[in-house]
Symmetry: C2
């Protein structure tokens, strides 16, 4: 396996992008400027009702988040993405829902605000997918400290420019990445910036 980048898809700040990955295909999610959370979703391209599921992954691995070499599991408990490299501080989240219009209304926003849920719906719609369930995302680079009493924090992402994780698709997969538009809490540091998906040879 080489690490040659075959194609690079920039995910602009506050937007989402989707890509179809063949089984065995590898890709890298890169934090271009640093301190940017990426909401990652993965669906079986053959049956959109099967998708990477946080709650099934936690049970299958007996961990809050996969370790290197472990796979995220679907809601049918099949491996869909394997975490094959982590060139970042290694802090990720799988506890928090994607931000959505209701979240921003509750945070006091009047009018429209970009959200990971709408990004997911838009880019899968552009692929011709009519209706999807909204899974709990894999929140790459997101720092949600869990206290011993179960309290959760919302801390700034610890990543620096160029940090990345590399994943391998274990089935024919639709991968969606949203550059999280959250700017009302500190998770994206000074503010939303861009990510990239690099398809590896």
């Amino acid at each position: 396996m080489s690490d040659r980048v075959d194609q690079r898809i920039v995910v602009p700040a506050r937007e989402g992008r989707a890509v179809r990955m063949p089984a065995g295909g590898r890709f890298r999610v890169v934090d271009l400027e640093g301190q940017q959370v990426g909401d990652l979703f993965a669906f079986s391209a053959d049956d959109i009702t099967e998708y990477a599921s946080a709650e099934h992954t936690r049970v299958g691995l007996a961990r809050l988040f996969p370790s290197l070499g472990e796979a995220f599991l679907t809601n049918r408990r099949r491996p869909i993405l394997t975490l094959i490299a982590d060139d970042s501080p290694g802090v990720h989240d799988m506890l928090c829902a994607a931000c959505d219009p209701a979240r921003y209304r509750l945070l006091g926003v009047e009018g429209w605000h970009a959200s990971c849920q709408e990004n997911l719906q838009r880019v899968t719609g552009e692929l011709g997918v009519k209706r999807i369930e909204i899974p709990q995302p894999i929140n790459l680079f997101m720092d949600i400290p869990v206290g011993p009493d179960g309290a959760l924090g919302f801390a700034p992402a610890r990543t620096r420019s160029g940090d990345s994780v590399t994943l391998q698709a274990e089935m024919y997969t639709i991968v969606v990445l949203s550059a999280c538009p959250q700017d009302l809490n500190p998770i994206n540091g000074p503010g939303p910036t861009s990510l990239a998906i690099e398809l590896l040879d």
Copy 2:
């Protein structure tokens, strides 16, 4: 508010039961014999696509599980059930998917095994609900210790006979309770037993 029990619905070991609760209605989930996990689901009775969501609850409360007086939130971030009393050791889980046929196959079971997912589908089907998403359940009395490194344990429930939690519906709600049939790990202590739903006056 009195605590008079208006109706008692026994949920036999390994089975599920559903009940419609009006907004403001209160009910108690009782562990009849002790050490029995109850998978609790709650759907808006007016729109089954809105349901209690672990990942939205965690974000809204900044906790792994609600404290007394706090509400579970739906996937539209609205309160659906408030935890109004906890007469149990207070150990509950909201990290683990409901057990399902795939889970038991992976645990080595050949042939059919009762599961919380099938219980949910059966009892909502009996109410005339055609198709539901399978939410991450609220796993009452389930002891899943979270280590500082994110490792999860599967420990026996700490409840004794008669322990309970009391909840209040915040909207017109379909409540589903499954007496978890898991008998291949220690979560249900010596083995699956019955629960009860007590509707309070």
